[in-house]
């Protein structure tokens, strides 16, 4: 069962340059780069010590354990030079996608509200997870049908999304919940939230890993490819 998403590559995407940040301890940067190339764009490696973004058109903050994540996921990464540059650029409208540890980093740095806390089951969970697509207007999700069901891996120990009630209500009210867990919430997230976006729909954070679902050979599906294609559509149109 594959999601209703077109996987045709974006025409004219080849010129698009998407930056992928590597912190010490980042793991899924190679996967994110592969996904970007698969979607037809150019992947540009960004190092945590860089203090500029090398003119990229969008940035992915990938998964992993930045600086070991011993203190709190994303807590140390938010202070790196590249993040200072990223926060500035995101505030000016640069598209940003944070996946897993990247989502945690975006919350820690204040680009997205809330926090990701220890899984309710107290264990790291790696599994293929069903999700529903709640918002198809954000820059990262236009390729999907509203309500589409996706099967994408989750793998994390601290993915339980938490925010105070006012923030959660605001997210819901403004349609900023991107994805929700269905058929079982793997981590105890408030309101089954698996991903959110900022008010402009340009900065997105998710716990599931779309970059691990770009090819049924190495992932459960190719349901994740649409996120990268959606962003390219927007970049090419701009």
């Amino acid at each position: 069962m594959s999601a209703p998403v077109t996987t045709e590559t974006t025409t004219g995407a080849a010129g698009a340059r998407i930056g992928i940040i590597t912190f010490p301890g980042t793991l899924d940067d190679v996967d994110a780069q592969r996904a970007v190339r698969r979607a037809g764009a150019q992947a540009v490696a960004l190092w945590h010590g860089d203090d500029d973004l090398h003119g990229v058109d969008a940035v992915i903050v990938p998964g992993g354990f930045s600086y070991g994540d011993y203190l709190r996921c994303g807590a140390i990464a938010k202070f790196s030079p590249v993040m200072t540059a990223l926060v500035e650029a995101a505030n000016r409208g640069l598209p940003v996608l944070g996946v897993c540890n990247g989502f945690q980093v975006l919350c820690e740095s204040g680009l997205l509200p809330g926090a990701l806390t220890r899984n309710a089951g107290l264990h790291y969970v790696c599994r293929d997870q069903w999700l529903t697509m709640e918002n198809t207007t954000s820059l990262w999700t236009t390729r999907y049908e509203p309500g589409a069901e996706l099967l994408i891996p989750v793998k994390h120990g601290e993915g339980s999304y938490m925010a105070d009630k006012a923030t959660l209500d605001e997210l819901e009210g403004e349609g900023r919940v991107l994805l929700r867990y269905v058929e079982g919430n793997p981590n105890g997230s408030a309101r089954d939230i698996a991903g959110i976006t900022d008010a402009r729909g340009r900065v997105a954070g998710l716990m599931p890993h779309p970059e691990h679902a770009i090819d049924p050979l190495t992932g459960p599906t190719d349901d994740g490819l649409g996120m990268f294609l959606s962003a390219l559509d927007a970049l090419v149109a701009a």
């Binding site: 010490p24 354990f65 994540d69 264990h123 050979l217």
Partner: protein, 650 residues
């Protein structure tokens, strides 16, 4: 100061006293007082106690040494004195005692393991780039790619402290693979525990699984296979075996050696602390008997704590060093720490080596030379670097925030010389430490009870015959922990990271893509049925091989090489030695029949509780290659209507 308006701690903070002062409210009880453990040892008391230098050893031939406490036998100690022509110094004694331990020297197994070499034909060797004796075996898989893989045990540490024991087990095997010049690409973990319902299993199993997951996940290595087996015999002796697989371009193979006088020895990675010093702490406390500064040391737990983040950074740092051609030789620091790394590097080279312990970055104060040499602090590597490359080497380490220090150099002498505080504390022929340890021909005797065991066979044992009996058997099997879903374990492991995992659980073997362009890949499986091996160790080992071989074959891959982890009881028990000998023969003969070589492995003895050994457990790992991973065959039937089911074999 606080951000909490209700600040529940103000009452405590107001008293302003520390926890250890224990004055803020009645203290119930303290485990060990926080922050007051004495890490200082002899170096810090400044009483000028003489370093046990080579010269001092020469002048004090009659000084009694605690060699028995360090696990050396009378005759082994005598041999050390004979090699050196004097009594060993404290530091030398520490080195010999760890390096001549069963774990490092293979003293009981060597004579049997030789059989693997004897039975490996030149034909079987064709694809083998490195074999037994190297850190890990390496095979050529075609298109210029090579794969290195190895199994290692971390059984005893994982019983003492399951989480850290298992974690550092993964860390150790990963460094073995790195030392071959390869990028580690996957791990697998064959595990054995006591009965699933035993209270102690509830302590050990989650700790082990959490440790393997915590470390492997943080390194970004997909976990692509393993086993979980429960049996009474593992009740106080779980088996935690870990496999790592690495990939490299065949021309990048790095073998551990230290050639070229003048080349520098660089220690890099974590600082050296008092971790895992274990038996060697008797040296400090012996000498300082009655001296209160010595007492802190005795209580040291020989536990190592893993730091996967440091190891992840170390991996990336090593790979960049290899790519930049800055490494002449490299060795990981595992069991026996610097003792092992320096003596092995030096004996594999063409000269001697000089090391200055004062240069070693330490984490604890006042460590003695013996302690520095024996420390098993994790996440460290030792490289041999040309003097002209040292600056470039340091630059790469700085980029990755990895501490790196030149601690010595290759000399044109013969000996390994170690200095501390300006004095020569070790002066030994390195081969006598690393390779010329004692070799035992332990007594081997088939236990009489094997006949009793063999008397029970399918013809004499009752089998279910009525439908009720069959039903009962079926239900018993369905309820058996040994046949239950492994999902609780495998869902704690990242199997997706790096994006090359083609098959992992619940498949019969893990399959990884190695080359994205050509689709070339590899498959690995580990197996062992220890109950079969108990019944007949020769056949049991062959069966373990056959099972792993089949598991690789059914994914569409062609099996090509074998590694193993031979877990047995005490080698001093002739019955256990017989099991061991039989298992080695069975595995070697099986490999010869199938035409694939054993490229490496590991022996773990003394797996027993009291005098009761574990079931003999020769875990076998098989590696295969597959030309095109898109043609892999997943496990499972019933995807489509009308599929035909065939039974092959008889």
């Amino acid at each position: 100061m606080s951000n909490n308006p209700q600040d529940p701690q103000t009452s405590v903070a107001a008293s302003g006293s520390s926890v250890e002062a224990a004055t803020d409210g009645p203290t119930a009880e303290t485990g060990t007082e926080l922050g007051t453990v004495d890490t200082g040892g002899r170096g810090t008391d400044g009483d000028g106690a003489p370093t046990d230098s080579v010269e001092h050893a020469r002048n004090t031939p009659d000084t009694a040494q605690p060699y028995l406490e360090l696990g050396l036998k009378e005759d082994e100690y005598a041999r050390i004195c004979e090699i050196l022509g004097r009594r060993p110094t404290e530091a030398e004694l520490a080195m010999y005692s760890v390096m001549w331990s069963e774990h490092c020297s293979y003293k009981s197994s060597k004579v049997h393991l030789k059989y693997f070499g004897d039975t490996t034909t030149p034909e079987m060797r064709q694809k083998m780039l490195a074999g037994i004796g190297e850190n890990a075996g390496v095979v050529d898989i075609g298109d210029g790619w090579a794969v290195t893989f190895k199994l290692e045990s971390h059984n005893h540490p994982s019983y003492v402290e399951p989480h850290e024991g298992a974690a550092t087990g993964v860390g150790g095997i990963v460094r073995d693979i790195m030392a071959m010049g390869a990028r580690p690409v996957a791990v697998a973990d064959p595990l054995r525990f006591g009965p699933a319902e035993a209270p102690d299993t509830a302590r050990v199993l989650p700790g082990v699984v959490g440790g393997i997951g915590g470390y492997g996940n943080c390194l970004g290595l997909p976990n692509i296979g393993g086993e979980v087996v429960f049996d009474d015999s593992y009740a106080s002796n779980p088996l935690v075996n870990a496999m790592c697989i690495g990939v490299l371009k065949s021309e990048d193979l790095h073998l551990a050696h230290a050639s070229g006088a003048g080349n520098k020895l660089v220690l890099f990675g974590a600082r050296t602390g008092l971790d895992g010093i274990g038996g060697v702490s008797v040296l400090a406390s012996e000498t300082f008997e009655g001296d209160e500064s010595g007492t802190g040391r005795k209580k040291l737990p020989s536990v190592q704590v893993g730091d996967p983040f440091t190891e992840k950074v170390l991996i990336e740092c090593c790979l960049e060093l290899y790519r930049s051609g800055l490494v002449v030789g490299i060795q990981d620091l595992g069991g026996a720490g610097l003792s092992c790394a320096t003596s092995e590097l030096a004996s594999a080279g063409d000269g001697g080596m000089r090391v200055d312990l004062d240069e070693v970055p330490l984490r604890a104060q006042g460590m003695t030379p013996a302690e520095i040499l024996s420390s098993e602090s994790q996440e460290r590597m030792c490289a041999v670097v040309q003097p002209s490359d040292v600056d470039a080497f340091m630059k790469v380490c700085a980029k990755w925030d990895v501490t790196a220090t030149v601690i010595g150099e290759v000399t044109d002498g013969d000996n390994l010389e170690v200095y501390a505080g300006g004095e020569l504390v070790v002066d030994v022929p390195p081969r006598t430490v690393a390779h010329e340890g004692p070799v035992y021909e332990r007594p081997v005797e088939r236990p009489g009870e094997q006949d009793l065991i063999a008397a029970d066979n399918p013809n004499t044992l009752s089998r279910p015959s009525t439908s009720d009996e069959l039903r009962a058997t079926m239900l018993r099997m369905a309820a058996s922990p040994n046949l239950a879903s492994r999902d609780w374990v495998t869902s704690q492991y990242d199997r997706y990271v790096r994006g090359n995992t083609v098959l992992a659980q619940p498949s019969d073997s893990g399959v990884l893509r190695v080359d994205e362009d050509s689709g070339r890949g590899i498959a690995v499986a580990t197996d062992c049925n220890a109950r079969y091996t108990r019944l007949d160790p020769y056949r049991g080992a062959r069966l373990a091989l056959a099972e792993a071989y089949r598991n690789v074959a059914v994914t569409g891959a062609t099996p090509m090489a074998v590694t193993n982890c031979l877990n047995f009881g005490s080698p001093e028990d002739p019955g256990v030695m017989w099991q061991f000998q039989q298992a080695v023969r069975g595995l070697a003969d099986g490999c010869a029949e199938l035409g694939i070589p054993v490229t490496g492995g590991n022996v773990s003895f003394y797996n027993q509780t009291g005098t009761k050994p574990i079931l003999p457990t020769p875990v076998v790992g098989v590696l295969g290659t597959i030309d095109d991973v898109t043609r892999r065959i997943p496990t499972g039937i019933g995807e489509e209507d009308g599929e035909t089911l065939l039974l092959l074999g008889n």
